[in-house]
């Protein structure tokens, strides 16, 4: 019986029929999605922190409203994704608890510090650029609620990368100091950005199953290559240099070759030893704890009002 259901499930996937919350699905499919979507949601929420660091210090009002709008979007994206994950049977509070206790991960990129204003440009351009590269194919992922959330996210995110690139462009065409600041940000964010696509395919054991179930449509290395290929001309327009001495056009492959990623650093950051892991997690836990009274007060107010309405109705 079980085998039969699995075969039917795979058949639907192969025919590009979306899976919806009340459909039968293999337990492993549900778990994989729950892990991926909740981590994605956590990344949106933690991702607000590095950029939030610069809202009060944005160089002018135009930059400030743009950055505020971007960070606000990220909060919304976290919400869409938590809601999609909730359809798989885990409550919001359980997910947050997993984040706060360190059981659930979020994208490692957010464990790097934002040292200068140029970092805000580099994040919008590269980090959001890499995220978009990942997210566009997710609009066609096999699980309906996730796919629909991603459609909304991608639509809203299109301005994020442009605002980042505009910051980089302004700095790169500015004074020598400003240009140096842009180059420094690129130097620090380039490698972490291309690590965002995850381990190389041969070291990504769950990928094959995710591809079979069409949760993923492209492998980590395919997406990383695409990202490098589009980033090179974008960097040339800026007049900056990607910090990779092995980066060069490979005519026969029709792609750029690039250097080996420092996986030791990647694994260290994933394991919790990046520059900001502890600070990021502490900020989230503090926000949760300091918000307790607000959550309690809103509920108490609602209960009191409901009781009062009941009394009025009875009277």
């Amino acid at each position: 019986m079980e085998i039969n259901l699995e075969a039917q499930f795979q058949d639907k996937i192969d025919q590009e029929i979306k899976i919806e919350p009340r459909d039968w699905m293999p337990e492993k499919y549900r778990k994989t999605l729950l892990r991926q979507i909740s981590q994605h949601a956590h990344s949106e929420i933690v991702g607000m922190l590095p950029e939030g660091n610069w809202i009060t210090r944005a160089p002018n009002l135009r930059r400030k409203v743009a950055l505020l709008a971007k960070v606000q979007d990220e909060a919304g994206h976290g919400l869409y994704l938590y809601s999609a994950a909730e359809t798989l049977g885990m409550s919001r509070d359980e997910m947050l608890n997993e984040l706060h206790t360190g059981k659930a991960k979020y994208s490692s990129i957010f464990n790097y510090p934002t040292l200068t204003w140029a970092d805000i440009g580099a994040i919008g351009w590269l980090v959001d650029g890499a995220a978009i590269m990942n997210q566009v194919p997710l609009c066609r992922t096999s699980y309906g609620p996730y796919a629909r959330a991603m459609v909304r996210v991608c639509k809203e995110e299109s301005f994020h990368q442009r605002q980042g690139y505009e910051i980089m462009l302004t700095l790169a065409k500015g004074t020598p100091e400003q240009k140096a600041m842009a180059q420094d940000a690129l130097n620090r964010w380039w490698w972490p950005s291309i690590m965002m696509f995850g381990p190389n395919d041969e070291n990504s054991p769950n990928s094959a199953m995710s591809m079979k179930w069409k949760i993923k449509r492209f492998s980590n290395d395919e997406l990383r290559q695409k990202f490098v290929d589009v980033s090179v001309p974008q960097t040339e327009i800026l007049g900056l240099t990607i910090p990779d001495k092995d980066l060069k056009w490979n005519e026969s492959r029709g792609h750029y070759d690039f250097g080996e990623i420092d996986w030791t650093e990647f694994n260290q950051v994933v394991a919790g030893n990046g520059p900001c892991n502890r600070q990021r997690l502490k900020t989230r836990v503090d926000a949760w704890e300091e918000g307790t009274w607000v959550r309690d007060a809103a509920l108490a107010h609602a209960e009191k009002r409901a009781a009062k309405n009941k009394k009025t109705e009875a009277a």
Binding site: I19, R162, Q163, E166
Partner: protein
Amino acid sequence: MSNKEWPLWEVFIRSKQGLNHKHVGSLHASDAEMAIENARDVYTRRMEGVSIWVVESKNLHASEPTEQASMFDPANDKVYRHPTFYVLPEELNHM
């Protein structure tokens, strides 16, 4: 006989796997089960749906039409939420 009116239900139909449930209309029914069956008979006679949601109308809370202008005006002056607000060079192709 009580002549009590059946409650009103709002009906949402998913036309195809992968798409949102969309509001299609409402109907009266004595309970949720009947509402779903009636919704099937009224709203999916020509295979318009693969899934039905019904919600008792009294459980739907809506924004106030008379307050529409003030309700949505926060978005009116925020052009910077749109990609076209950012000025980028032509040769960038699309970003």
